[in-house]
């Protein structure tokens, strides 16, 4: 309950107080061409993005969130960045990074950056949904990684990289990636994935340190 990291820039404050492009009508009425959805209320934030596409450009973007001021501010900014000047092309939009959004916002407190990554993920999800609906599945970027911790968006690939760097136990993995520190529902699955990678890379017990 402390006040650390509440020094938001004026741009963030403006977007937080007067968020742009919120979905005001029902989803049925809006008739989006693509819908993206990430996070869960259990993790403390959740984001839904709706896009309309015309001739390969995002001509309109609306969104909804269960999220904190950073999530609201950054998604509001994202919605402007994507739709300004006639709209970004799908190829451009899918490349937007949290860094680019944070830059436009004039920065975010360090402990708030994780709250702001949902917007661009939801946008990518919406674009992929559009590709699926229009039969352009070949355009969906192939992601090898699978998210195992929804709250903190840790993937199995992240865990593999940690194991390759020498992490062998759940506590260390948790300290480094924060995996499973929010709702904790993924802990058992993460332990299994971790053990599988440890087994795969450190078969000899000498390396695992286990008896």
């Amino acid at each position: 309950m402390d006040g650390v990291g509440w020094n938001y820039s004026d741009v963030v404050k403006e977007h937080f107080m007067r968020p742009k492009n919120i979905l005001q009508v029902s989803e049925e009425e809006y008739k989006a061409d693509g819908v993206g959805f990430v996070g869960s209320p259990a993790c403390g934030d959740m984001m839904k993005i709706f896009i309309k596409v015309k001739e390969g450009r995002i001509i309109d973007l609306k969104w909804q969130t269960f999220g904190c001021a950073s999530a609201i501010g950054s998604t509001s900014m994202l919605s402007e960045m994507v739709t300004r000047d006639g709209g970004m092309t799908l190829e451009e939009a899918i490349e937007i990074t949290p860094e680019a959004i944070i830059k436009e916002l004039g920065g975010l407190p360090a402990n708030k950056i994780h709250c702001s990554v949902l917007g661009d993920k939801a946008l990518r999800d919406a674009i992929n949904d559009y590709y699926k609906k229009t039969g352009q599945t070949d355009k969906i970027p192939k992601t090898e990684a699978k998210i195992v911790c929804e709250c903190l968006e840790v993937t199995d690939e992240d865990i593999r990289m940690e194991v390759l760097e020498g992490v062998k136990d759940f506590d260390t993995l948790q300290k480094r990636t924060k995996v499973g520190t929010s709702c904790g529902k993924c802990a058992d699955n993460v332990k299994k994935i971790l053990n599988d990678f440890v087994e795969q890379y450190y078969k000899c017990s000498i390396y695992t340190g286990e008896k």
Binding site: M1, F16, P41, A42, D45, C68
Partner: protein, 389 residues
């Protein structure tokens, strides 16, 4: 500014402020034998008597510390530390019973001593946040349990624990009993002649005194505590270091004022809190009270506004000039929502959506009216943006 965060801290009582200003030229060291020192010594002892008079205990049972946290640390870290300390267990291993809803200054201190051959049992709470005295009794290991430490009232949800029952159990098994009463002082009548506690922690800045001053009550006749700070003979040798004389004089005055105002204030503040609670429940759908409906501090109201996130609510209210606090993860700098609200067995999203309103002596009825209106606006705005309907 409508300040509704009195459980976090309080403004100085005007009389306390006056007292501090008047005192600022009295620089004497209370340990000095000369006039300059004696004058301050007299004022320190006057303050001690004022605290003792409020609590209905002896002045030599009052130890001034720098904070409630220090008082908690002093008691818990005494367990098993040296053979002549009061919580020493001859069994070699010591055991402490506490609860899952304690303040971090208790929980993290327990975590710290857990590494030192001390077992800790954290008793769970029910859906209202209350500890059951029989659960505490079940956790007792005769001959090994060296301390029972349960908070009087919870800072986040305001739940008042069955302290009399727990203290009776402690007495029955002859186990020292400590209570962190930081949130209860001034909000619940406490009479130490009637209530059997061995140690009690108090904080100045929750009762309209400044930050940096606390009290540790230690009942006469219990065995000695191990000081956290060794040095001179100050505070009956339980707490070395030249006294924080300004803080002590201030907290003495704060207790004098509490004695005068408390009974009426409890009634007035409870009325305001009930008005706020009723107003919010009447005007805003889909909200949930966290904590006990009646066994609760008069000024505390913790509510979850479903489907929206606590920090957003807090910051929008802040921009409207209303100060509250939240149990959402986003406000804490960590990713975990309030462990207190989570301990009630609710879904994590309930904790992420929780807002604590805590009222105090400067709040007025008009402020409560404005708050009900503004909270309604903020909640309905944020709900229009929420993907969960």
């Amino acid at each position: 500014m409508i300040y509704l965060d009195y459980n976090a801290t309080t403004p100085l009582h005007p009389k306390v402020k006056e007292k501090i200003i008047d005192f600022l030229n009295d620089y004497g060291n209370p340990s000095s034998a000369h006039e300059t020192g004696r004058k301050v010594k007299f004022m320190v002892e006057d303050a001690r008597e004022s605290v003792a008079s409020f609590l209905n205990c002896r002045p030599d049972e009052i130890i001034f510390t720098a904070s409630g946290s220090e008082a908690n640390n002093t008691v818990i870290k005494s367990v098993g530390r040296c053979a002549n300390s009061l919580c020493y267990s001859s069994a070699g291993k010591s055991h402490i019973i506490s609860t899952v809803v304690e303040h971090p200054s208790v929980l993290n201190t327990l975590k710290c001593v857990e590494n030192q051959n001390i077992d800790v049992t954290y008793v769970k709470v029910d859906a209202f946040g209350r500890v059951s005295a029989s659960d505490v009794e079940k956790a007792i290991r005769p001959g090994v349990t060296s301390l029972i430490s349960t908070m009087y009232a919870n800072n986040e949800i305001g739940v008042i624990q069955p302290i009399e029952e727990i203290s009776a159990i402690a007495q029955k098994y002859d186990i020292p009993f400590h209570t962190d009463a930081v949130q209860a002082i001034g909000k619940v009548p406490i009479d130490l002649k009637k209530l059997n506690v061995d140690y009690m922690s108090i904080s100045g800045h929750k009762i309209y005194a400044p930050k940096g001053i606390g009290v540790l009550y230690k009942k006469k006749g219990t065995k000695a505590l191990c000081p956290l700070i060794n040095g001179g003979h100050q505070e009956f040798s339980f707490r070395a270091g030249t006294e924080n004389t300004i803080g002590i004089v201030a907290i003495g005055e704060a207790f004098k004022q509490l004695k005068i105002e408390m009974d009426e204030e409890i009634i007035r503040i409870k009325k305001l809190r009930d008005k706020l609670e009723a107003g919010l429940f009447k005007t805003i759908p889909n909200i949930k009270l966290n904590g006990h409906p009646t066994e609760r501090l008069p000024g505390t109201l913790n509510i979850s506004f479903k489907n929206i996130e606590g920090e957003s609510i807090l910051l929008r209210l802040d921009l409207f000039g209303i100060a509250v606090s939240t149990g959402s993860a986003c406000s804490s700098g960590s990713l975990e929502p309030s462990y207190v609200v989570s301990s009630l067995g609710v879904e994590p999203e309930i904790a992420h959506s929780s807002i604590r309103f805590s009222l105090g002596r400067e709040n007025t009825e008009e402020e409560i009216d404005q708050t009900i209106e503004k909270v309604g606006e903020v909640v309905s705005f944020l709900r229009t943006m929420s993907p969960i309907k």
